[in-house]
Amino acid sequence: MTAPAFVPYLLHTLFPPNTHRPTEIGADVMMGLGMGYLVYWLTRHRKWGWLWRDWLTTVDHKKIGTMYLIAAILMLFRGGVDALMMRVNLAMPHAPFIGPEEYNEVFTTHGVIMIFFMAMPFIFALFNAVIPLMIGARDVAFPRLNAVSFWLFAFAAALFNLAFVVGGAPNVGWTAYPPLTELHFNPGVGTNYLLVSLLISGIGTTITGINFLVTVLRMRAPGMTLMRMPMFAWAALNTSVLILFAFPPLTVALLMTLLDRLAHTAFFTLSHGGMPMMYVNLFWLFGHPEVYIVALPAYGVFSEVVPTFSGKRLFGYTSMVVSMAAIMVLSYGVWAHHFFTMGAGAAVNAFFGISTMLIAIPTGVKIFNWIFTMWGGRIRFTTAMLYVMGFIPTFTIGGATGMFLATVPADYQVHNSYFLVAHFHNVLIGGTVFGLLAGMYYWWPKMFGYRLDERQGKLAFWLFLIGFWITFGPQYLLGFKGMPRRMWTYPAGHGWHLLNVISTAGAFVMGAGFLVLVYNVLWSMRHGERDASGDPWNGRTLEWSLPSPAPEYNFARIPTVSSLDAWWAMKQTGQGRGRGAAALRLRPQDIHAIELPRNTGYPFFLGAAFFVLGFGLVFSWWVIALLGLAGVWAALAYAWFDHDQHKHMRADEIRRIEASMGRLPA
């Protein structure tokens, strides 16, 4: 190609018309300003070295957890803006704010971002922040791979978010069903972005699953048998198993679609014997377990928060463990409930309808156990606890509407209507998001050493809860009135308008809740109450035995565990003199040198190389893809040949650190 022809080609490919709409330009400007400010700030304060040494190369699970948390909240913002744009449209069907193409893009990016780039990293943030501390470990099983997971996620998220600026956003829905995703029906690079970034982040997620599975199975403190583990560790275990079993079918489904688009294979090409239903089955074979991947961690959080703030041990611990495992197993046998209407026949539908309803049993067990834990307890209504109290009725209703959808004839009426939209937000927000926020408020002092202000936190909670019901309550009715999902506007005369206006108003209440939450964090960074004791809530599990934030090595001495709620037991049995540091009674001679993983830059480079590879694949620019692939190999080879992965921390250094935190007589 000659140079003059090449430039317009390049410009048109990189910046097709759907990247210069006002909303896109506005977002570009905002992102540019944000990035510019970040660069300015880092340069002005000479923080580049700090950024590289302390964060980009870190292998410390606590810092990785913090980075996941920041990313998740940024993505919650982006997904939330998408949501508001859609809601504005639906409140003004006569003068829509965005057009049909853009609406398609926005619900797609909203769904993908909320599930893969908000909920997942938020979960991994909490796992990273507390799982090793809870089970008495110095780190996760594979600290370097933990950093690899993070950077694969981060660069995949960056790639996905690049789409609407460069090349055009995907518009196929988060489910990305063929044949709509076939090149013939969907030229352009948007769909490639979705496929490639999910494939890359999927690798990271799988590694995280392996990491936490091995961590929980193999790294528990002496005496902590499986049945003495905190429920949140059980949640990490079950979630990890779900990840290991659920992501492979997704990988295969996405890969097939990508091959169809890039290599012209015929997996979903009808004229060549392709079968779109193959994709749908594989996708939901992943998709339903995925909803439990994001739900079980929330259950885990609730099982920690409720006992702490009720001042009682968890009611029915064994049944909690069994019911969680039951949910984990059952979640693989229900996937066809996502396509009852696609003609599977009565017997198949009956099977999947019943198997779906069975999940209500273990879930009900859990709900009752949380209620019985509160029963007779002395409840402290902290923000974290409020989220549990909001969760129980909200999630129960979401579950009940799920049972309604599992009733096949009823599903035929409301399938793909706003009833469904209301249902899944009911469980995703009422379950997952409330759980994650509860966990954030609960463990924030442990992660950062100060509390989030409770009054502001409670205000945000009420805005979220009330806003949630105003938004999604009316959507159930809209579903009954026949309004389909994924509509950019609608004609008058169906009686849909008023309910949509109410729903949009609710969405803005939730948006206000988000702003209060951000303000809450920023305010508390300056003025939040410092947590000197390390045990601000009078907690029950081992993470509260540590200073806040925990030192790099977590435990100067690994504790020995003899019962459930190990820290509570230590505080009770006079192993200590009450709350906080004293209960551990660390002596200088207990402290030995510790081996710690050494920081490394290869995970960051690996992520960056995957980004280049992914970018090349998205545009089918094979030279760039090959460059990226070479980078991936280089990073892997570097990692393989690097045998010097540890550093030692001397005993006297640890004694000094512990003394400075008041844990040892100086």
Binding site: V214, F247, H264, F267, F268, G274
Partner: protein
């Protein structure tokens, strides 16, 4: 040998740096060090997810098998000859990698490397045969663009082939490390996990041979 999952009663504590690694009597080098033992457990999990990738591919293959469109069916396309040759190569290489680990356990580094090299040669032979088979198919107009059946065939078999290729490159890296550093807990663990991986690929191939090639002849 039991799966190295640790027991629920006695989780292994992280070792202090000034404690000697507890060299349990009779425990092979690659398990003696806590960290290496963890990595072996982790690698079993890698094999689990990888197994599920192949399970998904097998399921797709089974569904797509009748969807030959205008292209050839498996019975028309596949010859057993090259598939049997490929099987012989790969099965033998599984045996040779076993011998390599046997020598590693006896501390015989040179013999170990020799057997690994033989394993890799067999693996390369397998790959060569497979690529040749693909080339012949494509020359006959049967590529993965021809029909959904062939798409799923090529995806399944070449995913396995890509695993073999990755394994060869990985093992070359391991051999270089052993030559440089000798056998220690780290390099021994690497050889051991490679051998697990290689056996795993062998098992997958047995299924491919049965389901794809024999299956086509029976149907």
């Amino acid at each position: 040998m039991s799966l190295p999952l640790g027991t629920s009663e006695e989780p292994l504590p992280i070792r202090f740096a000034d404690e000697p690694a507890h060299h349990l009597a009779g425990v092979p080098l690659e398990f003696a060090d806590e960290e290496q033992s963890l990595k072996i457990t982790g690698f079993w999990m890698v094999l689990v997810t990888d197994l599920l990738i192949f399970a998904s591919l097998f399921a797709s293959y089974a569904v797509y098998r009748p969807m030959v469109a205008a292209g050839p069916s498996g019975a028309q396309l596949f010859g057993l000859g090259s598939a049997i040759a490929e099987t012989l190569f790969l099965l033998t290489s599984s045996f040779t990698v076993g011998i390599a680990v046997w020598y590693m356990r006896r501390g015989n580094q040179r013999a170990m490397i020799g057997w690994i090299v033989l394993t890799l040669l067999l693996g390369a032979g397998f790959l060569g045969l497979e690529l040749h088979e693909f080339a012949v198919d494509i020359a006959r107009g049967a590529s993965w663009q021809t029909s959904a059946f062939l798409s799923s065939f090529f995806l399944l078999v070449s995913t396995h082939g890509a695993h073999v290729l990755f394994g060869i490159l990985w093992a070359v890296g391991i051999v270089v490390q052993v030559l440089r550093r000798g056998l220690n807990a780290v390099t021994a663990r690497k050889v051991y996990t490679f051998s697990l991986y290689w056996h795993f690929l062998d098992i997958i191939w047995v299924f491919i041979f049965t389901v794809v090639y024999l299956g086509a002849k029976i149907a």
